[in-house]
């Protein structure tokens, strides 16, 4: 079986007048089903760009990205939308909930686009909300919830579509350390239940909660290995100093 995620010499190059910014500068890597990977690096190292490509929100300038063996570069807008809908669940730093809709409607949104009938949609959304401990907040608007609760809504939303990968870009970035730890624990639980998770963070202590760390610097991979290895930390500190 093809790996779930495979980058083959992927570039993302932004042209800013005369200069070129290589946000992703020739990355090759694979992520298998069931992994919990943290992509770490300093701000501006290309983590978000990487996640956008993995999430089919953006396409590489050069190189190939294969999702479950399928070359995403060949697909059009609507195909990419369908892939995001079926295979990907996003968790953003700023939660990105729809403010005018209730918690339940937010979680149902991707199911609406998937064409899931109403009754099933309701049942699935309620189940995932119960899973993240928000069964009693279905009718609330996002603004009526705390930051940690909002992030849990967005986790429920990512889970509801039963995706192949959950992509979390700095999910604890806007939270205090205690709620941040709770959210992280929830992601670890989800991983234990068999979900594939790609977590993006600039924080080493958070990255170490994952199984595997991919460290980026200037759009290149400078470390790819177990999270508990000596080198992951050493390099991290080196990276931070330099």
């Amino acid at each position: 079986m093809a790996p779930l995620i495979e980058f083959r010499n992927v570039y993302k190059i932004y042209r800013m007048g005369d200069t070129e910014v290589h946000a992703v500068d020739g990355i090759s890597m694979t992520i298998e089903r069931g992994e919990f990977v943290a992509i770490v690096g300093q701000s501006g190292s290309g983590k978000s760009t990487c996640m956008n490509i993995i999430g089919c929100l953006d396409v590489p300038t050069a190189g190939q990205y294969l999702l479950a063996g399928q070359d995403v570069g060949r697909l059009d807008d609507d195909d990419l939308a369908a892939i995001r809908n079926r295979m990907l669940g996003f968790i953003f730093q700023q939660y990105n909930l729809l403010p005018k809709m209730s918690v339940l409607e937010n979680v149902e949104a991707s199911l609406v686009y998937a064409g899931v009938p109403r009754a099933e949609r309701d049942a699935r959304a309620k189940k995932t909300l119960a899973r993240v401990g928000l069964a009693d907040k279905l009718k609330n608007k996002p603004a009526q919830l705390s930051g940690g609760q909002q992030q849990r809504v967005s986790i429920a939303r990512a889970l509801a579509g039963n995706p192949s990968v959950i992509l979390a870009d700095e999910p604890t970035g806007a939270l205090d350390s205690r709620t941040g730890r709770e959210v992280l624990a929830l992601l670890q639980d989800l991983h234990r239940e068999g979900n594939t998770i790609v977590l993006i963070t600039h924080d080493n202590s958070i990255a170490r909660k994952a199984e595997r760390i991919i460290r980026l610097e200037d759009g290149r991979i400078i470390y790819d290995g177990p999270a508990d290895a000596e080198r992951a930390v050493v390099q991290a500190e080196g990276g931070q100093d330099g």
């Binding site: 807008d77 369908a82 809908n85 990105n96 729809l98």
Partner: protein, 396 residues
């Protein structure tokens, strides 16, 4: 995403900013109301006209003889003969002669016009006799000095009676033998301020000494055209020219007036519809603002798997719903204005003409407003649908 889902989202979005939605709809509301009132006004005018024409008799055919460019002429006997020969086409005929003579009642000189007519005139013009009797053939034949007065004259000078009284016409004494029932509103200007005398007398009173017009009644509405043709044929034969007379049927006149009114209404409605277009541009404007305000929402929806057509549908339906609601409000508003206009017309013009919006104009106004929403919502929706998901997500 289903149509129903999009519709619910649209309502949610509209109701979450009511004032803005209302302002957005304003152009549509005004446009729709204007179209409804104008078409209603035209419809009312048409009804009013049809009613007035009907009270004159839609079967009426008038013949005016000018006698220009020919020495030949037709006599009243010719015209009676024509009617008798064509009973299937013509049911009655009456000469009408404006005597020009002054009417005197006691010492007063009313504005009443004195008209010489035949014995069938009452039937042709749909007058009914209230008191006494109408003119008869013998009155005409013997040139009796008898007279039938309209309800205005009776009310004004004889306290609602008058039969048996005498009046003076052109210096001769006439006896009132009948009073007509009210036909219009017994006003001074209308069919009720009349004095009818035998046409044989009126001819003598008039300057020309000639009968210059005839009223025919067609046997039925279906034969008006043939009846008119028969009259024309006879006159053509008599005069050897078709410029010496004119024949006009009321139904023809009504058709012409109808056509003119329709053209007028269409033009006015089209002008009013311009404000619908302006309203549409207003909707487009607000939708464009809304798209950029909701860029992030669009980004989120795209990250959740919304396809271009889902976003497109959401915004187009929102625009159509906005303008559709505007249309409904406009229809209500138009109704309100129509009933106000009716009251105003009745109060100011003393005519009982009702501004009646037509079902067709309402359906059309609503249809057009929804269509305008779709049309002018299309561009902003397209813009929204084409947004790049990451740019949209990053948008502050």
């Amino acid at each position: 995403m289903s149509f129903f889902q999009s519709f619910r989202l649209a309502l949610q979005s509209i109701f979450s900013s009511k004032v803005r939605a209302l302002l957005t709809m304003l152009g549509i509301i005004i446009g729709v109301a204007a179209v409804i009132v104008i078409v209603g006004l035209g419809n009312g005018m048409q009804n009013f006209m049809t009613d007035s024409f009907e009270s004159m008799g839609t079967n009426l055919i008038t013949v005016t003889v000018v006698g220009r460019g020919t020495a030949r002429s037709v006599s009243d006997d010719d015209m009676y003969e024509l009617a008798q020969e064509n009973p299937a086409l013509l049911s009655a005929v009456s000469p009408t002669v404006s005597s020009g003579a002054q009417l005197k009642i006691g010492t007063e000189t009313p504005s009443t016009s004195v008209t010489g007519v035949g014995e069938d005139y009452a039937d042709i013009r749909q007058y009914e006799v209230g008191q006494g009797r109408f003119l008869r053939y013998v009155d005409v034949l013997r040139r009796q000095k008898v007279c039938v007065i309209g309800s205005y004259v009776s009310n004004e000078y004889f306290d609602g009676g008058g039969v048996g009284e005498t009046i003076k016409i052109g210096g001769y004494t006439y006896t009132v033998i009948g009073v007509l029932k009210e036909k219009a509103d017994s006003g001074e200007y209308g069919d009720d301020n009349v004095a009818l005398i035998p046409y044989t007398n009126a001819v003598k009173l008039s300057n020309s000494g000639q009968i210059s017009s005839y009223y025919f009644s067609a046997a039925s509405e279906d034969v008006i055209t043939q009846a008119k043709a028969a009259i024309e044929e006879r006159l053509e034969k008599a005069f050897g020219s078709d410029t010496a007379y004119s024949v006009i049927s009321m139904s023809e006149l009504l058709d012409i007036m109808d056509d003119m009114l329709n053209v007028m209404i269409t033009i006015l409605a089209a002008i009013a519809a311009i404000s619908l277009v302006v309203g549409g541009i207003g909707i487009m404007n607000i939708m464009l603002v809304s798209v950029s305000e909701r860029t992030r929402e669009i980004g989120i929806r795209k990250s959740l798997g919304a396809r271009q057509r889902d976003i497109m549908q959401q915004f187009v339906i929102e625009a159509a719903t906005t303008s559709g609601i505007g249309g409904v409000i406009g229809i209500g508003f138009g109704y309100l204005l129509s009933s106000l206009a009716t009251k105003l017309i009745v109060a100011l013009l003393q005519q009982d003409m009702a501004v009646t919006p037509t079902a067709g104009s309402i359906a059309m106004a609503f249809g057009i407003s929804v269509a305008i929403g779709i049309l002018f919502g299309y561009l902003p929706a397209k813009k929204a649908a084409r947004l790049n998901p990451i740019d949209a997500l990053r948008y502050e």
